[in-house]
Symmetry: C2
Subunit: 118 residues, 2 copies
């Protein structure tokens, strides 16, 4: 056997597992966009997000926010004014996803330029 790739090194498995875990937490059509929005602007109310993220419905936003909150990536805060306001922002975990979102955004912008340049 000249080149046996059948044995997968441990660090490689961990590397891939990391990618999978991150992907799972950011799965679905809207989570990365929500995270990107909160990462850029800091704090948003529910309807602000609905208006800010074009195309999202209240149903999907609500669902995705719940998922993100369950994974401790964002925190939901009810401001007890009259009328009540609900604010969403990233937790420190959530903020640490900034690297990932930045990398995706950088790459995406460069790719788009390259594609349109042809």
């Amino acid at each position: 056997m000249k080149n046996d790739k059948s044995k997968i090194p441990e660090h490689c498995k961990k590397y891939v597992q990391g990618v999978k875990d991150t992907q799972d937490l950011m799965s679905g059509k809207w989570k990365t966009v929500i995270i990107a929005a909160l990462y850029n602007t800091g704090k948003f109310r529910f309807m602000e997000l609905v208006r800010h993220i074009e195309g999202i419905s209240p149903k999907m936003l609500s669902q995705e926010l719940k998922d993100l909150e369950a994974n401790n990536l964002i925190k939901r805060k009810v401001v007890d004014t009259m009328p009540i306001a609900v604010e969403y922002e990233l937790t420190s975990y959530g903020k640490s996803l900034g690297n990932v979102v930045d990398a995706m955004s950088d790459w995406g912008m460069r790719y788009r330029k390259a594609v349109f340049a042809k």
Copy 2:
């Protein structure tokens, strides 16, 4: 209006668009894993990938490889030996996704540690 977030700054739109574009190209259950595998190891034949990526079926692998090739992220090379071999590797575009995959892997590994540490 104290705090008008209704006007979305242009750079913010571009930022989010970048994230979306990247997400679209890496969508599905297997693309990031395939990219990570090729990024780590360089070159793989079809059946090597099937064995290396646990859980993937030939059908899904074939489908995802086609998608990735269509988006110019990987190249497929038929080595004209007897029997023929088919090699897959990242294009330079594909390699430039390394930052994204690295960021995802880093974050995922840290997150996993943090979750199990509790």
